[in-house]
Amino acid sequence: MFDRDIWQEIFHSIKNNKLRTFLTGFSVGWGIFILVLLLASVNGMQNGFTRQFSDDATNSIFIRAGVTSVAYGGFEAGRRIQLRNSDIEYIKRSFPKDIEYISPRIYSGVSARYKSETGSYNVQAVYPDHQMIEKTLVSKGRYINENDLRNASKVAVIGRKVAEDLFKKEDPVGKFVEFNGLPFRVIGVFTDDGDDNAERGVYAPSSTFQLMYGQNDEINQIALTYNPNYDLTEALEFSERLESVFKRKFKVAPQDQGGIRVFNYAEVFENISNFTGGLDFAVIIVGLLILLAGIVGIGNIMVFIIKERTKEIGVRKALGAEPWQIIKLVLFESVFITALSGFIGLAIATGLLSLIGPNIQTDAFANPSVGMSIVVTATVILVVAGVLAGLIPAMKAAKVRPIVALSDK
């Protein structure tokens, strides 16, 4: 089947019609080129989204309390819900298998002073676990530990920008900084490559702030990460469970987002993957339509070639060529042109991507690339396309009556 003669004939035919072969091949190559680039763009978009959110642990859930918006369980609307330390203990007790890390967040603003430098910063008072939830990178010193928390130590982990503002060239670790007039020892400096603003923040133990500023056990928010082995459905199921438990506990209407709000990053990821999945689908459809135009082009050319070669095919049949042998000739040529030009398109597209892809790193678009599966799929599509493009012309060729070779009109 793959003998030398078939290939010789194909090469002859291609060599004799270079421009025509090029023009036809171009349309298929172009189609594949566009298809690959489109798919890579969707991929790049996906990468961009993922990168933006991967700054925080992607398996995090936040529980916020606010003011109820609906009357429920005998209470009027407008009731303020307050989260407390006990709620954290309650979650730890109730969901031991689901929880990975958990921490409260208490927000407050402080005015800080070191020597003659002053500034206003936001403080998040947290548990040691918070480092894992927020994926905080400590570049100098250390993060808050259990001892700090137990002793309500006046220690702080400051952001890189804070350190620059207050300490200039000095090493802040071990120095004392005044927050609202009270001395805090700086135990570490953190960086955040996602966000400069985050580096203008300060972390402190939650117990310290609760003791200093009100002697209470109130917290603003609960941040936690769930079991990282959970898939999307399990994660969503868990946050729903959490939400319903909390709403029952605080007697908040199930649909009331004001009283208790449980925010799960998985929802965002679900939305993103739904979105990019839809985009992928649209892109494949568009790409295939472009490719279809190329296929029709090849089919068109093949019909033309057959018409031109009618006499030759007639002679071949008179010399004893069977219909299948004629079909083979046309089909192979069509598959060859399609596959070759498609591969060129594929190679140029992937080459282009590997060249410029890694250099593209914007917020919503990063490293557009194609996977092996796309390459394999494209190859299969190409061969099928070649067969489709050649089939009708080949059948037509097989039907050529050898009698036309004899008539010299």
């Binding site: 071949r316 010399l319 069977e322 009698i403 004899l406």
Partner: protein, 233 residues
């Protein structure tokens, strides 16, 4: 070798039917060199097409080398043509992008003869028509007479039972025509059966038998004394 009994053929032209062959009875023995003559419209080409299995008859019998030729599908017809028949056309019909040698090898390719053996055999036949040195040339580099000799070599390469030639000298000047006829006569001398369709009396005279067609019937079928082409070359 060839036996034809009461062969009829008509073509449909719209609502009319054109009766082209009106009962042909005709047989050819092995080793004969037959000229089929007749003016255009006499049915000589239709007869050749049916003999060449390029067209089907409406009724009648056609037996080729003891094999009844009837109700053939495309594949079977192709195999029979390849095995039994060699064709020579008026306009040579060489494949223009293949060398002389490759053209001669084509029927052998369809007989699924291996490449090496195919080329050896083809070269032998090219040598027989005196074109061994031209083996690697393309048809466009050959003269008309040379092209027809390549075509004859091609027709002979498959070692067919019968050689069918449709106006083999129709596109050649008289000197070249005689050269080609000389070659055909020599192939006939080796015992090959050859049928030639022609309207040129001098070409017909170089055969051993002349069959005259007119309006779809044979009006004359006579053996003649062959004029050798050699003397004109």
């Amino acid at each position: 070798m060839i036996e034809i009994k009461d062969l009829h053929k008509s073509y449909k032209m719209g609502s009319n039917s054109l009766h082209v062959l009106k009962g042909i009875n005709f047989s050819v023995e092995e080793g004969e060199l037959v000229a089929i003559m007749g003016s255009s419209g006499s049915g000589k080409s239709t007869l050749l097409n049916i003999l060449g299995m390029l067209d089907n008859s409406d009724s009648g019998e056609y037996i080729l080398d003891g094999v009844p030729i009837k109700n053939l599908n495309e594949t079977k017809a192709a195999q029979y043509r390849n095995k039994f028949l060699g064709f020579v056309f008026q306009s040579f019909n060489l494949i223009n992008y293949k060398s002389a040698l490759e053209n001669v090898a084509l029927p052998l390719y369809y007989q699924k003869v291996g490449r090496k053996e195919r080329l050896e055999k083809s070269l032998k036949y090219l040598d027989q028509v005196g074109l061994k040195e031209w083996a690697e040339h393309l048809p466009s580099e050959l003269s008309g007479g040379q092209k027809q000799r390549v075509a004859i070599a091609r027709a002979m390469a498959a070692e067919p039972k019968v050689l069918l030639a449709d106006e083999p000298t129709g596109a050649l000047d008289s000197k070249t025509s005689y050269e080609v006829m000389d070659l055909i006569q020599k192939i006939n001398d080796q015992g090959n059966t050859i049928l030639i369709v022609t309207h040129e009396p001098d070409i017909a005279d170089m055969c051993k038998r002349i069959v005259h067609l007119k309006d779809g019937v044979i009006i004359e079928d006579k053996k003649i004394k062959q004029v050798r082409a050699e003397q004109y070359v």
